[in-house]
């Protein structure tokens, strides 16, 4: 009888320990959730809205940068959209991290190829995404210490995963080499062309597909090691 009571008490102990373990785990996940991934540690938490701040001064790698003036009225008078002479087909952007090159396809037709600058101080996420927001211009800020940056009027932003986006970069000209905090930097001329061609989400349909590849060979031959959301 005493032995049975002893076993019963042990069982209670195990169950209580298990229960406490579950409560601590669930509570821990609730009260200490993982931080969302961010390319721009400050602005990604606060504001991903469109912003035009003409005359504002930016800062990158400890140097002041004059942000280019943006005149929306002038936008409509600019050149034709990429792929206008190509049959309408599914659009897909591929970013090849190995060669630091971006390819834009409309169906099987390559309509753009240019050098980009991907993550150097933060990794560009590898995976398959869709553009979820297009902004003509916004502010991007983040980093710490000597790496801190705060850049107004970042042009032609196409967010494809959280605040990771394709966008123009006016503060450096070192494309073909890693140079960003996780976004895909492009020359302003290239970003403008891509922005005018690519689609954001509309009427329930997804935006233009964006695949970030460790190595890209051809459409649908996109090597991805540990992608965030692999194609099933």
């Amino acid at each position: 009888m005493a032995k049975r009571s002893y076993l019963k008490l042990h069982l209670k102990t195990y169950l209580l320990a298990f229960f406490v373990g579950v409560v601590v785990f669930v509570g821990g996940k609730y009260f200490f959730p993982p931080k969302p991934p961010c390319a721009n540690s400050l602005t990604c938490q606060s504001d991903l809205s469109e912003k035009i701040e003409n005359g504002a001064i930016g800062m990158f790698q400890g140097h002041q940068v004059t942000a280019p003036k943006i005149d929306i009225a002038f936008d409509s008078t600019k050149h034709a959209v990429l792929g206008a002479n190509v049959p309408s087909a599914q659009k897909h952007v591929y970013v090849d991290l190995a060669s630091q090159t971006l390819y834009a396809y409309q169906g099987d037709t390559k309509i753009m190829q240019t050098l980009i600058a991907s993550g150097r101080w933060g990794k560009t996420p590898v995976g398959n995404f869709h553009i979820w927001q297009k902004l003509r211009s916004t502010r991007m800020a983040g980093g710490e210490g000597a790496d801190a940056y705060n850049l107004p009027n970042v042009p032609y932003v196409m967010y494809f995963y959280h605040d990771f986006g394709l966008h123009g970069a006016y503060w450096h000209d070192n494309f073909g080499h890693t140079m960003s905090h996780g976004c895909v930097n492009m020359r302003q001329v290239d970003a403008e062309s891509l922005f005018n061609w690519a689609d954001g989400p509309k009427d329930g349909s997804l935006g233009t597909a964006v695949s970030v590849c460790d190595k890209f060979t051809a459409p649908n031959i996109c090597v991805q090691n540990n992608p965030i959301n692999p194609i099933n």
Binding site: G28, L97, G119, G122, H172, H177, E192
Partner: protein
């Protein structure tokens, strides 16, 4: 110690252990999530032989006329190469507006047929005030885009020469592009031909600043 005391002690121990293990799993699962996005090193470390791939919209190739548009599309660098009958080459470097009009000549030189100059993808400084061209694959010449002398009595800066004068340790290898409006990123090689450090070459002051990371 009675059995009751023993079981109480065991219960407390198990509960504390369970709490620790669960906290560990919370920490671990959060770390795993973060590790997907943050690294402290570049994806491509010190790739000095990376090929520059030409964009479709602005081709740069070894033809008689090569050009490169500025990142904002408002300026164009044009290099015209004349193959002379005597085997020499005449290079004429000009800056024009984005459509190629209003060309202004910056520099002309006649060189041996074995020497070459080329227009890099990242030729223009972000503010379009400076530009550089490659020479012989192991030198870079930096010009003012207005055509004015870059310094008193100098049409251009010869970056490899300035490295030889100021930096005894590493030799100029290539200029990759501009880190900012005045900072040219330079890769180097050591005397034993292995990869050296990367540097900033500060254009107005000609300062050479060693970087902690490689390009």
């Amino acid at each position: 110690m009675t059995i009751r005391h023993q079981i109480e002690l065991e219960t407390i121990s198990f509960v504390i252990l369970a709490a620790f293990i669960s906290s560990f799993f919370v920490l671990r699962s959060n770390q795993n999530f973060q590790q997907q996005f943050h690294i402290n090193f570049p994806i491509i470390a010190g790739n000095s032989t990376q090929n520059v791939i030409t964009p479709i919209s602005n081709p740069v190739s070894k033809v008689d006329t090569a050009s490169q548009i500025s990142p904002d599309g408002t300026k164009m660098l044009i290099m015209k190469t004349t193959h002379n009958i005597d085997g020499t080459l005449t290079y004429v470097i000009s800056a024009a507006d984005g459509s190629g009009l209003n060309e202004k000549q910056l520099y002309t030189t006649k060189v041996k047929g074995s020497e070459s100059m080329s227009v890099p993808f990242n030729a223009w400084s972000p503010d379009n005030k400076y530009l550089f061209v490659h020479k012989n694959g192991n030198d870079a010449l930096v010009f003012r885009a207005t055509g004015e002398p870059i310094a008193s009595g100098q049409t251009y800066f010869d970056v490899a020469d300035l490295f030889r004068e100021q930096n005894k340790k590493d030799m100029f290898s290539e200029a990759t592009g501009w880190a900012s409006e005045t900072l040219l990123i330079v890769n180097t090689v050591k005397a034993d031909n292995t990869k050296g450090s990367s540097y900033w070459f500060e254009v107005p002051s000609k300062a050479i600043i060693q970087l902690s990371s490689e390009f």
